[in-house]
């Protein structure tokens, strides 16, 4: 059973169908099939850090639950580190770490230190290894003063850092992060991101990151997998999203005086005017140079600036399409 090279996480035609019973009359109930995940395939190499995104209800959590072995797939095949998650859940969980932004794996009434002691026993982590991992997390996540504070007294950002530490003490090969920065302030977000980058670079931990905060993805992942309605809509480089999502760049043009909307520039259209200022949209894949020279020739230009498409808009357009 090799998992050192090749695909570390291998998902093929993964499908999960739920039967939902609804009341349709006084006593009658109709069963409908809901395809939460509908034939998704993708693969992760060891050490990759991939963003897994999609709107609410797209099937992200269902996919993660199957990847971690707490849900059985209806159809398709699934291997994580060479193991079928559902068949060998207790073996697999020793090799994965899971962090939920909206749940905690810590014990509310206990200090962080005690929670970590329990984690050490659960995963049978050798003492030296445990101390080393804990020391690294404590240093990088700045947890030193918090170890003896009961979890219920921690702030959200502190608790999140505590949770990330708990998920890493047993040296997992794969880390699933579900909304790890939700509700965090800018400083805490930056700290968590820096830590994840270091973790991935130094230990080669494979990371699958689910988030609605696309700036997380921009900071952390080169590659994104996008799903919608249980289907894969994109798998590739983050930079390639713009083309698939028909991203548009915007040229903001300041003219000498107020004029009717600019016309006759091939490939561009005026989307907004405000006094002497006009906004022109054109495909992200096209070059701005010919546009600018033609504008300068035809119109009294004072100034111009170029705006890149926001990734949020690109993805919103993908979902809509």
């Amino acid at each position: 059973m090799s998992d050192g090279d090749g695909e570390f996480i291998d998902v093929r035609e993964l499908t999960k169908t739920f039967t939902v019973r609804r009341k349709t009359g006084l006593l009658r109930r109709t069963a409908t099939q809901v395809h939460a995940v509908d034939g998704i395939s993708f693969a992760l190499r060891r050490g990759e850090m991939v963003g897994f995104i999609g709107p609410n209800g797209a099937g992200k959590s269902t996919t993660i639950k199957m990847l971690t072995g707490i849900l059985t797939p209806t159809d398709g095949s699934l291997r994580v580190a060479g193991v079928d998650p559902w068949q060998e859940r207790t073996r697999l969980v020793r090799r994965i770490g899971v962090v939920f932004g909206q749940r905690t794996t810590l014990w509310w009434d206990l200090p962080l230190r005690d929670s970590y002691g329990l984690v050490r026993r659960m995963y049978r982590i050798p003492r030296a290894r445990f101390e080393e991992n804990l020391a690294r997390c404590v240093e990088l996540l700045e947890l030193g003063d918090l170890l003896d504070v009961p979890v219920r007294q921690l702030s959200l950002g502190q608790r999140m850092r505590g949770d990330i530490t708990a998920a890493l003490l047993h040296d997992p090969d794969v880390l699933y992060l579900d909304e790890p920065t939700i509700g965090l302030d800018v400083v805490s977000k930056a700290r968590v991101r820096r830590f994840l980058v270091a973790l991935n670079a130094e230990l080669g931990t494979t990371v699958l990151l689910t988030t609605h905060d696309l700036s997380d993805i921009e900071h952390l992942c080169k590659r994104v997998v996008v799903i919608d309605h249980g289907r894969l809509v994109y798998d590739g480089l983050l930079s390639g999203l713009h083309e698939v999502g028909r991203g548009e760049r915007t040229l903001v043009v300041d003219l000498e005086r107020e004029l009717p909307p600019i016309e006759g520039i091939p490939g561009a259209r005026t989307v907004r005017t405000e006094g002497p200022r006009q906004w022109l949209a054109f495909p992200a894949s096209a070059s701005a140079a010919p546009l600018v020279s033609q504008l300068a020739a035809d119109y009294p230009l004072v100034d111009l600036s170029l705006r890149e498409p926001a990734i949020e808009d690109v993805i919103a357009r993908m979902y809509a399409g």
């Binding site: 707490i70 059985t72 969980v93 749940r103 009434d109 329990l118 049978r124």
Partner: protein
């Protein structure tokens, strides 16, 4: 060996978690003591009218009352303990986190509930029993062996009580709102443990059945072991408890497999 150490650590954490709430513990001791006095005077009135009711003399009956108060929180005879927390975790989906751990769900909760029980027996049990012993003439044994057997019976009572509550709590996977079921569980426990009246008081077939149900292992049997009044001797009482513990834990295991296999873990 490793499993033992893990479960000891889990139990210790359960103990510590409850030990944090000192004011709640003090309030609990007060409540148990007041409840004990009310029941004690009710029993005195009853036994005055009907001496040797249920085969107990008055001081044995009063001992029964205070043993009940001492075990009320520890053996979770009126519900509570891990059950509320587990049920809440099923309802809001946090149970997913428990399933991500490389440990057995049932064993984990059993260990943590034993830790809780150990704290509540010491923190909420000893004081009311001491007050009862000072205020009334109780039939407490002097032999350390009897006390040792009683401690074993109390431990088995907690295990049986856990196994019962685990079965009820697991139903939450299907029902989602198990409030009604919890109320039923508490009511059954309150009555069939012997908390309201010793089960030996009830005549005929109803009494026979009540004494054979698993709830009687959670109070009636430990009290009889302490009083030396278990028919067939203390060993038979302990065997009765151990038998129910095994049967109920096995049933819980089967239901757990079905629950985690068939049922969707809630929420994203």
């Amino acid at each position: 060996m490793h499993l033992l150490r893990l479960n000891f650590a889990v139990a210790l954490s359960g103990f510590r978690r409850y030990a944090t709430y000192r004011v709640a513990t003090a309030a609990g001791v007060f409540t148990n003591t007041v409840f004990g006095f009310i029941l004690a005077y009710t029993f005195i009135a009853l036994w005055h009218e009907r001496p040797h009711l249920g085969g107990y003399d008055q001081s044995q009956a009063l001992t029964f009352v205070w043993i009940g108060q001492a075990m009320l929180a520890g053996a979770a005879l009126m519900g509570g303990g891990f059950q509320d927390e587990f049920h809440e975790r099923i309802r809001n989906g946090d149970v997913a986190i428990d399933l991500y751990r490389p440990v057995d769900l049932q064993l984990w909760w059993l260990a943590s509930d034993l830790g809780r029980a150990a704290f509540q027996l010491l923190g909420r049990g000893v004081a009311p029993l001491a007050v009862g012993a000072l205020a009334f003439d109780l039939a407490l044994p002097s032999s350390p062996w009897v006390w040792l057997r009683f401690l074993l019976a109390v431990w088995l009572a907690v295990v049986v009580s856990f196994a019962l509550r685990y079965l009820f709590a697991l139903c939450g996977f299907w029902l989602l709102d198990a409030t009604g079921l919890n109320a039923l569980s508490t009511l059954l426990s309150l009555f069939f443990s012997g908390m309201l009246l010793p089960l030996t008081v009830f005549p005929g077939a109803f009494g026979e059945v009540a004494r054979l149900l698993p709830w009687s292992a959670t109070l009636q049997v430990p009290a009889d072991v302490l009083l030396g009044t278990h028919p067939g001797g203390s060993a038979a009482g302990l065997a009765f408890q151990a038998g129910w513990a095994l049967v109920l834990l096995a049933a819980g295991r089967a239901l757990q497999t079905a629950a985690t296999r068939k049922v969707v873990v809630q929420g994203g």
